[in-house]
Structure formats: structure tokens, C-alpha cells
Amino acid sequence: MNRFYMLLVAVALIGGGVLWYGSRQEAAPAASAPVPLAAADGFQGFTLGSDSAKVEVTEYSDFECPFCASFATVQMPVIRQQLIATGKVRWRYRDFPLPSHQYSRYAALAAQCAGEQGKFWEMHDQLFSNHQWAQTGKNPAALFRDFARTIGLDVDKYDACVSSQRYAGRIQASVQEGEALGVRGTPSFFVGGRPFQGRATSDDFKALVDSLTKQRK
């Protein structure tokens, strides 16, 4: 019996020690650490929809922003179905990670690295549909790797891309472009090159796009 209690104490001490040690260790390097800026490559953002669409909407968005997530998950599916799939609109996504968000630049990097393998929009959807990561304040690196695996990326290539911060310059160029256009918050939209002042709902976008399409006929 005494040996049993000694075993219990040993397990408790070893297990407790491991937990204590784990809690003392620093979390993985914060993704919000300053990123070395590579030269911007003139990239103009990932697009959805036909090149021959009469109207183009440019969205400046931040993956950590809750309003962007709400837009992406509630309004965007309707917009995709009614405006993009029908060939009326081409949608362009531009990164605008806000400095107040700890991991938004890292998320933008993850999406760019997915885009390198032709799966930007799949990663975009993962980041916005599983937005709990943005509320926990924890380093989401492992979670993003799970997303990468889920959408079928070559994870080794994804890892290499993210760790090299290959597209940091591209993201910064997108931010500078947005600032030059007067973007102050996210999500911000430009429809046909002009700032969109309506509500960010599929109904308002549809009304404006229909109006512009009629004018251009």
C-alpha cells in the first residue's frame, strides 16, 4: 500500500513539474514581431470572379478584425452567390492588418502563403470561419498550420513560406496603398475605384452594383 501512495506522489510530482515547467516557458515567438520587409512585388491582391465583370469591388480587410469576420461569414456568401458567381462583380482582397491587432499581420502572411499554393480563398475562409483564434490572444501558429493541412496545402512549403516571411513586403505595400486611399478601418470597400459609403451588407452591394451595371450598359 505504501508503495502505491509513493507511486501516486511520484506521478503527481512529475506531472505537476512538467505542467509548471510548461507554464514558465515563453510561448512561441509572437507573430506580431517586426517583420523584415521584402521588396513589394507589385501584387494587386487576390481576386474572385470574372475578369470581364463590369464592376470591381476592392476590400481592405484584417483577418483579426471581428467585423471583417462577420462580413466574411454572413454577407460574403450571399455576395459570392448573387454577384460574383453571376459574373457581375470581380472581388479583390487587399490586406490591411491593423496595428492594434496582435496576430493580424501573421494571419495575412498565412493567407499569402496559402495563395502561393493557389489556395488563398480557402485559407481566407478558414481564418474567418474559425475566428475564435482572434479572441484567445494566444499564438495561433499551430492552429494556422492545422488550417493549412485542412485545406490541403503542402505544409512543409507553407512552413517555409511563413517562417521566411516571404510576403511581408507585399502586405506592407497593401497597407500603404490603403492608407494612401484613405482607409482608416476595416473592412473598407471601394466599388469601381470609389469609396463605398453604404452599409456593408449584401443588399447594399447588390443595389449599388445593379445601379452601376445599368449605367454602364
Partner: protein
Amino acid sequence: MIRRQAIVLLALVGLLVATYLWLYKIGVLGELKCGTGSCEYVQTSPYAEVLGVPVAFIGVIGYVVLFLAGLVGLQPTFQEDRRVTRLLAVLATVGFGFTLYLTAIELFVLHAICRWCVGSAVIMTAIWVLALAGVMRAPSAAAPPR
């Protein structure tokens, strides 16, 4: 006796696992050591909480209760007490049912597996089997010698 000792030992290991997941959930641990599993995805999903209470914390409470009940059952006064046997079986069955629910969420809703959750599920299943075995064996143990 051996069964109760095994239950106590397993409950202690389960308690450590649940505590690890709970410490992650409340932000004490920065990252889960998960290998190729989808621990963070599972742990940050809406299903990682029940009525605002982290599932991992419920696990901590469950394992503490099982651990303490098992320890009480090891004391000389209660070693032959079938009420403890039944209590352990009831607690383990509740824990096992909750484990089944969580595993189903992982498999059929989230389509992701957290290795630590699987570890806890295995531990809880083993406790349940041991506790049920205790209930089934108890009557014959209490029968008068021939």
C-alpha cells in the same frame, strides 16, 4: 483493491491531462504540444466550453472527484463498502458519457482530433471499465465462503 488503486492512478493521470488543457484554455500555456493533431483548433472551438465553462475545467473537476472517491475507497473502513463501488461506477459512467459526447463532436462536427482529448478519453474509458468490473464482481466478493 487493485481495481480501485488503478482507478485512483488513472484519475490522477487524467487530472494532469485535463489540467494541462485547462491551463492552455485560460492562457497560462502559450501553445499546446500536439504533434500532428488539431489540438488548438479543437480547444478554441465553441464546443470547448459548456455554458461558458471550459470543458477542460469540467474534466479537472471530474477527475478530482473520481480521484478522491477512489482514495476514500482505499481506506480500510471503506475497502469492502459497496456504496463506494457503486459511486465510482456512477461517476465513471457520467464521465464516460461526457467523453463519448466530446469525441463525437471531434469526429463528426469539428472533423479534428486533439491528441490530449483522445488521451483523456482512453483514460476515462479505462476507469469506466474498471468501475463497472467492480460492480459486477462485488456481489460474489461479498458472498459467504463455502
